[in-house]
Amino acid sequence: MKLVYFAWVRERIGKTDETIALPEGIATIADLVRWLKTKGEEYEYAFENEAVVRAAIDHVHVKPDAPIAGAREIAFFPPMTGG
């Protein structure tokens, strides 16, 4: 599964993207965030305020309780400031 990061989430994690092998028991975006936070302090820093970081599955905005089964690409990013 491919993970992509943008803006300060990308800067804090220190990479633009990575491919991960998902461990058992990770069913939702919230599960994934909790698991990523155990992978190192860069992830802890990026997700220190979980409520702020937004997620998208395959280019569609999703909430933390969205199931991730079948996702090809999951993105994490700060609130958007385009326009």
Binding site: F6, A7, A75, P78, P79, M80, T81, G82, G83
Partner: protein, 150 residues
């Protein structure tokens, strides 16, 4: 039906308007919104816009589709730039056409409120003192502006 482009290059609003309206007798109104990079009282040398390729197009297409369902539009063009943009340069164009003015006004305003909150773009400041400034924070008022359409 809408035209959506994500690009680094500047855009030509007059050419986009002509492309949308030229040779047509059914369009009675166009509203063109252009968003510009401000210098924030001389503090900024540029805004750097990062975006999520693929999702930016897809999300703007979804918002445009919503607008076309809500209003009887005769044309809708959205162009959003990314990369380094200097003060005074345009960042975004929303161009809505309709038979009567209210639909064009409301659709353009709706598009901008949703773009601000849901299109995957992030702005970072570059300062006139040569340093790279902070990521621009999302504004609560932009959230509130979107809520009024629900």
């Amino acid at each position: 039906m809408s035209v959506i482009r994500i690009q680094a290059e500047p855009f030509d609003s007059a050419a986009e308007t002509e492309a949308l309206t030229g040779g047509r007798g059914d369009i009675g109104a166009t509203v063109a919104f252009t968003g510009f990079c401000r210098d924030e009282g001389g503090r900024l040398s540029a805004l750097e816009l990062e975006h999520y390729p693929g999702m930016a197009e897809a999300e703007i297409a979804r918002i445009a589709g919503d607008a076309e369902e809500r209003w009887p539009l005769l044309g809708l063009t959205v162009i959003h730039r990314f990369g380094l943009i200097r003060p005074g340069e345009p960042i975004v164009l929303v161009l809505a056409a309709s038979a009567h003015r209210q639909a064009a006004f409301e659709a353009a305003s709706f598009m901008m409120d949703y773009l601000k909150n849901r299109a995957p773009f992030w702005k970072r400041e570059h300062l006139t003192d040569g340093t790279t400034g902070a990521w621009v924070e999302a504004k609560a008022e932009d959230d509130a502006a979107m809520e009024r359409w629900i």
